[in-house]
Symmetry: C2
Subunit: 383 residues, 2 copies
């Protein structure tokens, strides 16, 4: 029995993690979770179980819920999140938080010797060096939940050391067939309409700018200790091949499947075993054809920025990520247009001054620098 804590349980990955856990009651048990405000999304879990540690955003919510669900224990805020991440009963912490905010609880969980199943890629992008050092020092496992990185982890077996390159596949997102000039008039609803995957808002927007793929390149660098010139991105519209590894002998191992996040979530929880799952098998005859195209870095400038930031190995990836988070939030709040996201973030990336990154505080400062740059830009201040 694996005891599991879910950070970010009411989001897309969080709810699917609850689904996976509920299908294997003999293997997995949820011992705690966090939600921001959408408590109703997990109310069925609270009613069904008892003795969970629940973290909410605000103290007043915690108080109100304590009387509604006396069988659970409630904590709140950032301190509550850290407390939850270090839950004494937990074996594995699923981090399904969105954004750099997931960094501190991840580090706390690792220090508390928890294994990590990580959907929160911004953590590795902004503080990969620190996170991976902490993982090694505490001798815990960090399994990716991102479908691409799960694919790569599945392609690598114990005896396969001689890796030549990692090939991350990219669907191209909602606007893959639009030119940059056509992006002027797109709406928020258009941007949220991903062709293959049903995901949260932030990642769907990141997918449309391909910043998501840029974040994944940096994530892959840290997870698999691979130099950036051995990480490639290839357009694959069908999202069926989730990623590939080429070895020294030119053999390529790929992982394929229907675009359903429960597969990588379950793999991260059940690893090194695999468990059955109630899903239709991928029907390749029905899929009929899989296509591969090169990626246009001019069309997707944030992918280029991510490679450059990753290669610098300083605080620029954290700053770039912070800028992107602020820009996406502004777009989701209807404060800027879609095309402004990568225009502003690229401009921020080219303008900011970078330093070494050695501590979590360095990453936090860089993240703030990126966010502030975008906020100033939007408010028309000097940047």
């Amino acid at each position: 029995m694996k005891n599991i804590v879910i950070l970010g349980a009411s989001g897309s990955i969080g709810l699917q993690t609850l689904d996976v856990i509920s299908r294997h009651p003999d293997k997995f048990r949820c011992v705690g979770l966090s939600v921001k405000s959408r408590i109703e999304a997990v109310a069925h879990v609270l009613r069904l179980h008892s003795g969970l540690l629940i973290c909410v955003e605000k103290a007043e919510d915690a108080l109100r819920l304590s009387s509604e669900f006396p069988q659970h224990q409630f904590v709140w805020g950032e301190d509550g999140l850290i407390q939850l991440a270090c839950h004494v009963e937990a074996d594995t912490v699923v981090n399904a938080l969105v954004g750099f905010i997931g960094c501190k609880p991840t580090l706390a969980a690792i220090e508390a010797k928890k294994n990590i199943a990580l959907a929160n890629k911004e953590t590795l992008v902004s503080a990969g060096k620190i996170v991976m050092e902490t993982v090694r020092r505490n001798n815990v496992s960090l399994m990716p939940i991102d479908s691409e990185h799960s694919a790569i982890a599945q392609c690598l077996s114990a005896h396969d050391k001689n890796i030549r390159r990692l090939i991350l596949t990219a669907s191209g997102g909602s606007f893959r067939d639009k030119t940059r000039s056509e992006l002027d008039s797109v709406s928020l609803a258009d941007a949220l309409n991903h062709p293959n995957w049903s995901m949260g808002a932030k990642i769907t927007i990141d997918s449309a700018t391909m910043m998501n793929k840029g974040l994944e390149v940096i994530e892959a660098h840290w997870l698999f200790q691979m130099p950036y010139d051995q990480i490639e991105v290839i357009m694959h519209r069908q999202s069926i091949v989730h990623s590939m590894v080429e070895f020294e002998d030119r053999a390529i191992i790929a992982q394929l499947g229907t675009p359903d996040m429960r597969i990588p979530i379950q793999y991260a929880l059940s690893y090194p075993q695999r468990l059955p799952i109630e899903l239709e098998s991928l029907d390749l005859v029905k899929a009929h054809h899989l296509t591969f195209e090169s990626v246009d870095f001019k069309r997707f400038p944030l992918l280029r920025c991510a490679y450059l930031a990753g290669k610098r190995e300083d605080n620029s990836a954290a700053a770039l990520n912070g800028a992107n988070e602020a820009a996406v939030a502004a777009f989701l709040a209807n404060e800027i247009r879609f095309i402004d996201i990568d225009t502003f973030v690229s401009e921020a990336f080219d303008s900011m001054i970078y330093h070494e990154l050695n501590t979590l505080e360095d990453a936090i400062a860089a993240d703030k620098m990126g966010r502030d740059w975008i906020k100033n830009k939007i408010s028309g201040g000097n940047v």
Copy 2:
């Protein structure tokens, strides 16, 4: 350093094995080889090295070559082949013989505790039960060289036990776009013109009838201990995805690469390591698209026969293989038309009486029954 013996060194797989060995002189050494009559194909190896054990078909060839190449030792015939397979210096025996004739040397090599790299699929088709029992009893490894089975072996890592199905890909061979009625007029040259792979004559013809895929289904059954209803065949015209494994969690792991047999040959020799190879990387953008179609069992009746024979678990697979070998030989000798191959072999399969298969002698008798049926058919005798 691995010492290697090659049975069938002058054929397509044999020559490519010599090429792989010559590229890794620090890892592999050829200590012996067999050729049938095309001695000139391996003359460069004989001139370059000394102390090899060489098996030829006829005693007079062995005598003549002994004076031409006094630095080598020559043996001949079936006894010579067995002697070579048991070469005291050999670690691994590459069996690149064509047809059921490869069976006895394989068994002899296993009994002599040699690891086997097997390109000779007819051995497993006709006597899989006996071969696999002998492998287990002698605790040696048997690595497939067939690209499909090598792909599957590469997709399976130590911790992946929960297999749901094996998916063998099939190019469809030389006549994949012809109907059965269009096959009446095809020539031997047409049949030998495979769209993707450059291979020997027997396997190229087997590919065009899809008997090759049928043999591979049975081979996969024995190699990976998989029931037949968990082995599927899918048409994949590009021969880039070499085969796939679906696991219980619906994840599919696939092996991809350019259609070059040196990749699976080298993997069989270097396993569990991988070694560099001087080949272009597979360019998926250039390949652009990969297609998958279902296989028409009516169009390819021998594939259906192979499934039926495999499921019977008696001597019918050996008899079917014998009939097919005889029919292909007759086609290659211009004695029958292409369309006669699967017509005659299907008829033989439906007509023969089958028994249990427990010993090598049972397999040899079944093989002879199949061959005799076809010979009688061609000579117009009663069958």
